[in-house]
Symmetry: D2
Subunit: 324 residues, 4 copies
């Protein structure tokens, strides 16, 4: 391997820049050439490349987003699109590819590989922490801090007014963000896709909280939760059934994807970026490099899809106890 | 004057605690007694008081919200409610009142005064900066920073994906937050209640931006703007008429009311809190203490209502030029 | 066990309040009484107790420091002092104690236990991450973020002026903060107690960086590093031997101990606080509850002392590669 | 005027990038060419220029420091150096210059102008707020927030341990940062160059605070204060004369110069950047564009030097009262 390309794909996450930087500098360290690909697989198809050296990635470790940009590519879903991508890789003399993204990104890599037998190593870059084979994804820790800081602000207002706030956070299939940020923000209730609380139990529980002397309440709702999916409807239901509180809704939205990465995400991205090049040099391919029990490890792409998210019973219990 | 009461009323804002602290310590300094009233005028009616001394307000200058809590009081709108409030003030031996809040708070004070002839001084505490007679309200500067920091995060994501983001910020009648935070966040367009841009001009302008080479765009929308009122509808309109961008909406909501106050708001609150007690001791009443040209001044309550907000043409021009 | 006391001891760390909160609410959950002890072992000796219930610990999860205050107690080093502490515990009808602190705190608990045979469970609360038997201590993650954010600011200035900055961070015996924050902040060099780089190798390396095109440099120095101990002397040495840079020194100091805890630290503190009460109820004693491979576990106090800190060779390599 | 150059000089400050951006986009708006000069006057002498257009300055409004870099130039102090700078300006066809910096920067401009009669307009870019003719300098508001946030963290620790902290902040000649940040951080005492408190009065005052029930204390010290100049010596003096406290020192240092600019500084920089080009187009020269009573105004360079800083008696009184 003499020349490596790197790209970011799917939703962006804080720490992607730090991961690119680590891949690039690892190439310099191992005296490999490195190319950046703009806009993920789409840039691969369009041949949108840029030569990167150690200095190209200075002063980006602290920046959210991805300077290589990201995109979702329809063309890459087609045989022709992937063929064009492969031709571009060959034309540029690229020997291997590092893709940073989520499970969609890795699924694309698997198909590409079946057709073109090209060495690819993936890195988990998503705020959702919904990838199998790694304890943490790049960007997840930052997103948790962003959510907790936002709810801290909302709490100021909730507490000043004896209000009930429903706060929607990201997590279509996984409640990891809601559960951890909910505990961290001291939420009274946490609604997650893995567990259907039901509207009535929620209202009953909020009623108990009120009676236990709580003057304000925060309910954290993962966007994919059964009863929280329609958060404005849920607010109406609570208003009707729990008149003691003034009920407000805040949807945190895209602020959760951005921001300067936390130290943890920067270090994780740096370790995995270094690990990706190490893996390629050892001849590994079709794998994602992740972190398990604080050790850099690799797992085949085919095992990165999470399937149904398991309920973390310990965290649920901690949430229940600490919101007494 | 020997005994002063202080309360916060209306929507909370960062710096209210700093203002209370300054009032309380000013009382200590001038050897006056000080009482806190919980939950604004409602607490006045219910006699919900707490004795405050210099130590009661330690370690609160940095906290958002108001530890005296705030509320909107329906009872205070009635003659009977106000009579009860007055009786409580007399029963406690209170000689004067400091109210921290917005123009609704001051309007309440005026009516109360007409009926009961009681010395009241107000402080402008609201993030909206919509009070006449003061250049800045307590909490406004903090809200601007909160908005700008949130949009910085959204920009990471917008820029990584070539997206157009509509970001709704507070401001039902006044575009001050939208205009200043929009300039500060480098927004491409800013929609404010004082000026009706029209959907077509907006789309035309965004089209020009795109052609000028901008790959992503942020549009800041005050909640009271004509075409931005229905922000999700506006997003649909843009999607239909400007297919070059992926359009996303974020409603910042209540995070704008909370958070640790900025240095400016803490100093402003401290100066005005001291000024409120000074004014009472000088025999002033029925006035709001504010800041004009960086000097503490006072203005009759009757002149604090802003009426229609004037368009700040210089800022509009700065916004236009810097988003070229 | 019917009544549990909780205290914080040694240097404070962000997340201690969250840990206390979890212990208190766990007591409520298990229908146990809970007492707080002010100022660590000193308060135990003086009988400085406060009854805590679920509502006593509201709105503290987001606050740095410890509302129970901490202190170093000379009296607790004496047989008489510990006897007095024990008598107070008995007099209050306390059945067990949760101590939150570092290895000095646990060492005190061991001696106390030998003399008075009292059930104690410890939680690791220190920013230094220098406790054996837990992967992370409460406060460490927050300190890393604080350091990285501070260096981000210094980098703005360093980069604008082609300067070399020496930044001293905490870590008398352990380089964990320096190494992780150094990688996270993109430092060019990291000096840690576990490894003696030598002044000459440092200067040679900085010279190479300069020649490789770096226009500014950050060197992160753990306070206990051999050549960095006297950081101002080191700066002079570099000035004499590397005239290409303007050399500046910043000692981050106590800002590293404070601040709102990160989400990770809040969740960790909550899990360990719940775990401490669980452990006591299971009859465990003389142990610290920590986190290993993301599972709550316990380890005897006698095994919490770290001895010499091992060099984390993977991180050293990541630091070397990413600063190429 | 058809072609304008812009440079940053002296110490960097947050908002300089926003100011450059506004100058560049103002040029685009008025259809003028714009050149950036790297490293201040030194780059002028070396002819280190870069063509800037509206897109060159995207995504920099939120970044601390200055992407044009800054430097102090010895050569510019000589007639020959300035001659070379002038020749480079002529060779590039530059008609006017915008310099962003402090009074040293403006003094250089004055001399340059006397010799070469070249249109120059200055903008006040420094965290020190020590320029005459403007109420606020670009970067000052951000520095205040940085200091206050740092002291908030120190307060966590101070309060947890009953400690006295001496915190040194920037301000060699002016106490503006110390005084405002001191009030904002709730400091017990504030030492500034404009007023010599004397060690004995300081100790006496701290003693009174302790007796009044304060358990911890923060003393903010401007680096140029008479008794605070040697802050470690002052700490020793207090230790000897006030044994009730454990005394700690933190020197905030260069973190005060960096960081993402506050909204206020971004808007101020945008307004002044626009104002600088407006002034040049109106034929103004040898002036600094500043802000007075929230209006953009101009003042001759010769009147920007502050001379001795006046004591702000109102703020001193507010500090005294709110630290009761």
């Amino acid at each position: 391997i003499k020349k490596i390309a790197v790209l970011t794909s799917g939703g962006d996450s804080p720490g992607m820049n730090a991961a690119i930087r680590a891949v690039v500098r690892s190439c310099t360290y191992h005296q490999l050439e490195c190319l950046g690909v703009y806009r993920g697989y789409q840039g691969l198809i369009e041949g949108d490349f840029v030569t990167l050296n150690a200095r190209s990635v200075k002063n980006i470790i602290n920046r959210g987003g991805t300077f290589l940009k990201s995109a979702r590519s329809k063309e890459f879903l087609s045989v022709e699109g992937r063929k064009r991508a492969f031709d571009n890789l060959k034309a540029e003399g690229i020997d291997a590819l590092v893709t940073i993204g989520g499970d969609g990104t890795f699924a694309g890599a698997v198909v590409f590989n079946e057709e073109h037998n090209f060495p690819i190593v993936g890195l988990p870059g998503t705020i959702d922490n919904d990838i199998n084979g790694t304890d943490f994804t790049i960007g997840y820790d930052t997103a948790l801090n962003t959510v907790v800081e936002a709810i801290d602000k909302i709490r100021d207002t909730a507490h000043s007014h004896n209000r009930l706030f429903l706060v929607e956070v990201m997590g279509r299939d996984a409640g990891d963000i809601a559960l951890n940020a909910g505990i961290g923000a001291g939420a009274e209730e946490i609604l997650i896709p893995e567990q259907n609380m039901g509207k009535d139990r929620l209202v009953a529980s909020l009623k108990r909280s009120k009676e236990a002397g709580k003057s304000s309440s925060i309910v954290v709702v993962a966007e994919g939760d059964q009863i929280g999916k329609n958060i404005f409807g849920l607010a109406d239901y609570i208003r009707e059934n729990l008149t003691e509180y003034e009920v407000k809704v805040t949807v945190l939205g895209h602020i959760q994807r951005g921001g300067a990465p936390s130290c943890y995400d920067r270090v994780l991205a740096s370790r995995l970026g270094v690990g990706a090049v190490d893996a390629l040099l050892k001849g590994e391919r079709d794998i994602m490099v992740g972190i398990v029990n604080n050790k850099v490890t690799s797992v085949p792409f085919t095992e990165t899809s999470k399937g149904e998210n398991e309920l973390d019973k310990e965290l649920i219990r901690v949430a229940d106890i600490t919101s007494v």
